[in-house]
Each structure stands twice: as C-alpha cells, then as structure tokens.
C-alpha cells in the first residue's frame, strides 16, 4: 500500500494544503505586499505586458473612434443578426466579473479563509471586466451619445424609459453592479492605502496615498463600523451577482427567438458566468503569483479550490446544454427542434462542437488532483474554458438569430476586422487596467492577511 501512496504529491494528498505559507509576522507580511507597490523595481514581465496591452488599448480607441464616425455598419452585423460580437463580448465580460464578486462576497459570508489572499485582485478583475462589458452595449447602440436615455430623469421630451423592457433592467443591473463593486473594492482598500501612506518614502506618494486613504487611523470604533459595512456589502453583493446575470439572460429569454425563449436561462447563465469567471481568475493569478513572487500567499490550495469550483460550475453548464437539447425535442416545437439541429449540423456546427469539447469534455480532467495541482495544465485549461465560454455566447446569440422562423430572412454573420479589433482591444484594455492596478495598489489585502497571520498563530498555539 505504501508504495502506491509514495510519490511527489504524497504530502499534498495526506495533509491539506496551507492557505498561507508559514513564518510571516504582521510586519513581514505588510512589507512584502506593500513593497511590490512602493520599492520593488518594475519586473520585465510587467513592462512587456504593459507595452502589449497599451498597443491593444490604442487599437480599441481607434476602433471605437471609427465606429462613432462611421456607425455599426463597419461590423459584420446585419438583419436578422443584429447582435453579434458586441453582445457576445458583453455577456462574456459580465460573466468574468461575477467570479470576482463571488470570491470576495460569497466566500466571505461562508468564512472561507482561502479567499483572503485572492479577493482583492478578484474584485479588481470584476471592476475592469464590468467596465469592458458596460462599453459593449453602448458601442452597439447606433447613437451611443444617447445612452443616457435609458436612465429615468425628467427630460424636456416628456419621455420615460419603458420599464417592461429587459434593456432598461440591464442598465439598472449593470449600473448597480459596477457601483457596488467599486465601493466594495475601495472600502477594502482604505486600510491598506493607509499602510502605503505610512510606509511611502517619497513626499509625493505620501500625499497621494494619504488623500485616497481618507485619513484612516485604524481606531477600534472605525474598525467596528468598517467590519459591519463590509459584511453588509458582501451580503448585498451576493444576491446582486445572481440578479445581474439573471437580468442579462432575460435580455434573451424575454424574446421569443428559438434558442432564447427558455426558463432555464437565468441559472444557466449564472453558472456559465462563474465558470468563465473562475477560469479568468486562474488565468490572472497564475502569472501574477509567478511575476510578483506571491507563491507564499496564493498557494496551490487556492488554485486547487478555484479548479474545484470551476468543475462544479462546468457541470451545471453541461447539464444546461443537455436540457436545452432535451427541451427542444420535448416541446415538440418545430422551430426549437430546428434550432438545435441547426446548431449541431448547420453552418456554425464547428462552434457547437468546440463549445462542447472546451466546456464539457476537457474540464472533466479537473476531477484529477494531479491536474488541479499542475499549474501549467490549469493555466492552459483556464484559457480553453475562457475561449469555450466566449464561443458559447456567440453560439447562443448568432445561431439563434441567423435562422429564425422565416427561411426567407435567413442570413449569415461573418466578423469583420473591426469586430475583432473591439474584442482584442477590450482584452488589451482589461489587461492594461489590471497591470496598472498591480503596480500602484496592493494586489492582496494587507489588513486581512494580518488577520490570517493571527489566526494561523492561534491555530498553532
């Protein structure tokens, strides 16, 4: 028996992996995290990433400018496929944001200690992803400068928003989501900004961090109110995350298009959102811990846990795929049946099969502990799932629209250069914001890590 158990990962199998490597005190943990921002010289990997993402951000700005100048005709959209890349990007980016809120809010309520070292950058991921998502419907509006007409305000036209429209729900959901995410993130940052203020050497940094720290003193009563507010925000953000992607899914399921008009959409979309979001959390945390030497804080335990959540969400997504097919035939509706067969055998069939391969088949490897503890495999798999989930949204949007009820109005969608430019540009802008974040703000919550040091100390005593 012992020969079977022996091996490089024997220790891993027999004991639970640590959330935090040992030997850290309040001082060393504070210094190690704040030095990334304050004193550590810029890593070459950061410079390379910054250059690349800056170029892509410029591409996004160019693509947006040309779009505003020329109109949505520069994309491959047409009638009947009036929605394509912009909405695919929108749903994909919002979904990525959800994992961040899930990590920071939901896992806080469940008292999962392993969230502590990843919640900060997961929240940053949320904000930047939702910012990219929020851009997409506005770009798609045709007259984007009128987007504020969705907001209820007493205007001189005497017109109010149509409250029965999911698009109006959308702006409330996304608007609330981004504001609450920013507040939650910033609130958690305040004590850490105070640490940076107190540890900064240069006058300029002291003043800048001092202003954004709002004069935080760490007084016991301040902490008490801070804790209450933080917990409340977590409690509010958790149902919010579910509601936001449910509303996003209602954008589709309220319509009567075959492939959209289904009650499974809200849970299906929420699970898909967490699936791709946790994949993105892996895509980001794996290079982050390598480049900034954070392997003591973001341990294999974190990667293992993220992979497990991905597996669960992936299974719910797989179930939803199966149900979509089943319900189409069970309903006996010829349009629903045709939609499913068209996805499997029609002109976009390769996308359907790639989606199944990437989102259902390959993630099953996560059942194996060896896969979950292999950093390289996880990284590759996270990218596979990201691509798979993007294609899934493309499939839902485009294959449903391109052949609806009336064969005479069927058409095909082919992306143009500008479709790709917006997608690539949004990826670049997301990466750019994230790189700026890790360079100027603490990517790990210092005050919560101190608490983790205390808990570790108490656990050992």
């Amino acid at each position: 028996m012992s020969s079977i158990a022996a091996g490089p990962d024997k220790a891993l199998r027999e004991s639970t992996l640590p959330v935090l490597k040992g030997g850290y005190s309040y001082a060393t943990i504070s210094d190690k995290i704040s030095d990334i921002v304050l004193t550590r010289p810029t890593h070459w990997g950061w410079v390379v990433g910054f250059t690349l993402t800056s170029a892509l951000t410029i591409l996004l700005l160019v693509a947006m400018s040309y779009l505003f100048y020329k109109g949505v005709g520069i994309w491959g959209v047409n009638i009947p496929i009036a929605w394509a890349y912009a909405l695919t990007n929108f749903v994909w980016w919002v979904g990525i944001g959800h994992a961040g809120t899930f990590i920071s809010a939901f896992l806080l309520l469940l008292r999962q200690k392993w969230r502590t070292s990843i919640n900060r950058f997961a929240e940053a991921m949320t904000i930047f992803a939702v910012a990219m998502a929020g851009l997409m419907p506005i770009l798609h509006l045709g007259r984007p400068w009128f987007f504020y007409w969705l907001i209820p305000y007493p205007d001189i036209m005497n017109v109010w928003p149509q409250w029965r429209s999911p698009l109006v729900w959308d702006i409330f959901a996304i608007g609330t989501y981004i504001m609450v995410s920013i507040l939650f993130w910033y609130m958690g940052l305040i004590p850490d900004l105070a640490t940076l203020r107190d540890r900064a050497e240069s006058r300029f940094k002291q003043i800048v961090y001092g202003i954004v720290a709002l004069g935080w003193r760490g007084e016991a009563r301040q902490w008490r109110r801070f804790d209450t507010a933080y917990l409340l925000m977590a409690g509010l953000a958790t149902p919010l995350v579910i509601s936001v992607h449910s509303v996003v899914s209602l954008d589709f399921s309220i319509g009567n298009t075959p492939g959209w008009h289904s009650t499974i959409f809200p849970p299906y979309f929420v699970a898909g959102a967490l699936f791709s979001g946790f994949a993105m959390a892996l895509t980001i945390s794996i290079p982050l811990r390598a480049v900034f030497g954070l392997k003591d804080f973001i341990t294999l335990r974190h990667l293992d846990n993220i992979a497990k959540i991905m597996l669960v969400c992936g299974l719910i997504v797989a179930y939803s795929y199966a149900m979509e097919v089943f319900m189409a035939f069970y309903s006996g509706d010829q349009f629903e049946k045709y939609m499913v067969l068209n996805r499997m055998r029609g002109p976009y069939a390769p996308i359907y099969w790639i989606v199944l391969l990437f989102n259902v088949v390959l993630p099953q490897s996560l059942w194996f502990r060896r896969v979950r503890l292999s950093v390289i495999t996880l990284f590759v798999l996270s990218i596979v799932v990201n691509i798979g989930m993007w294609l899934e949204r493309f499939m839902i949007i485009v294959t449903s629209l391109h052949r609806d009820f009336l064969p005479s109005s069927w058409d095909m969608f082919y992306p143009t250069f500008w479709d790709w430019a917006i997608l690539a540009g949004s990826l670049g802008a997301f990466g750019w914001l994230f790189l700026m974040f890790v360079r100027f703000l603490p990517a790990i919550s210092i005050s919560e890590m101190r608490k983790l040091v205390l808990e570790k100390k108490e656990g050992e005593a």
């Binding site: 209820p152 004069g215 109110r225 509010l236």
Partner: protein, 183 residues
C-alpha cells in the same frame, strides 16, 4: 497635574493584539472614558472592551435600501401609470412583475451607498489631519504595532497618574501626543 492645552493625550505602544485588548479593558475599568485603541487590523473584542457595542451602520443601510427600493418603485408606477402611460399589447399599466428587477437593483444600490457613506461619516472620514498622527511611531499602527491613547479631555486624565497607569500595563513604551506637529 493638569495637562497643557497643547497636549492631545498620552499613548502606549503594545506588541500584540491581546495586550491591547487587555489594556483597553483595564483603562475602562479604571474609569477612563475617552480612550482610543488603534490596530493594524480589526481585532476581535477590542471595540467591546472600549464599551462601544452598537454601531448604526446596519440601520443606515436598511434605511438606504428601503429608500432606494420604494423610491424607484414609486417612480416606475408614476411614470408608467400617470405620467407616460403606454398601452403595450393590452398589458396592465401597473405591470408590477416587470417593475421588480429595477426595484431590486436599486434597493441593493441604496443600501450599499448608505452602508459605505454611513460608515465614512460615522467614522469622521475623510479627515486627513488628526492629532493622533503626531504620536511617536504612529506610522507603525498600520503595520504591526498596537496603540492605546487616553485623551487629555478625559475627566480622570492627569499627566503623572495616567502615565503611571499606562506604564503599569507593560507597554513597549509610553509617549505624549501633541495637538500640533512639533516643528
């Protein structure tokens, strides 16, 4: 000995959180009321030891949530029924199920805004200058040290006696906090 008017208080520096909680409790028991404790993270039981048991943040958040939810629902009802009625396929003007999503989202938004700004305002933030920042070594309060300050406005405050009391708590050291930054 009465304190000079330029003095904010006396401060003791501690090595760890247990010592600070203990010191806070003993200062309260000794009859001091204007006592502040500073820690680099949220220490369990510290605010209780200072006699601070109820914060109003939750109440404020509740009110904010109610205001947000009721406010947007009333706005939806008013605009859809009174000010701008549109007959969409014979559906009732007051089609309440369709009004739920915006009402839910705005409830969350109102509560979150109230929790955040309520916390800031009750905490007296933003306030960039504060006499406590003049305390020796206070930059460590956001790193690894724990501080207990007895303010000079406390009726029991007496420079000699309070200093003696603080030194009796076995701190790393005891210092004075001036009101103005010594130049």
């Amino acid at each position: 000995m009465k304190p000079a008017p330029t003095m904010y208080g006396l401060i003791a520096e501690f090595e760890d959180e247990a010592a600070l909680v203990d010191a806070a409790r003993r200062a309260r028991d000794d009859g001091y009321r204007n006592v502040d404790a500073y820690a680099p993270f949220s220490v369990e039981g510290l605010s209780d030891a200072l006699g601070f048991r109820k914060d109003k943040v939750a109440l404020i958040a509740l009110l904010g949530g109610i205001f947000g939810g009721v406010g947007i629902y009333v706005l939806q009802w008013y605009t859809a029924v009174i000010d701008y009625p549109i007959n969409a396929g014979g559906r009732p003007l007051h089609s309440w199920p369709a009004f739920i999503p915006a009402a839910f989202e705005t409830t969350v938004l109102g509560a979150a805004l109230a929790a955040f700004f309520g916390m800031l305002i009750l905490n007296g933030l933003p306030r960039l200058n504060h006499p406590i920042f003049n305390a020796p070594d206070f930059d460590l309060a956001s790193r690894n040290r724990f501080f207990l300050c007895i303010e000079a406005v406390d009726p029991r405050f007496d420079v000699g006696r309070t200093r003696q009391f603080l030194e009796g708590l076995a701190p790393l050291k005891v210092g004075e906090v001036p009101r103005e930054m010594p130049s």
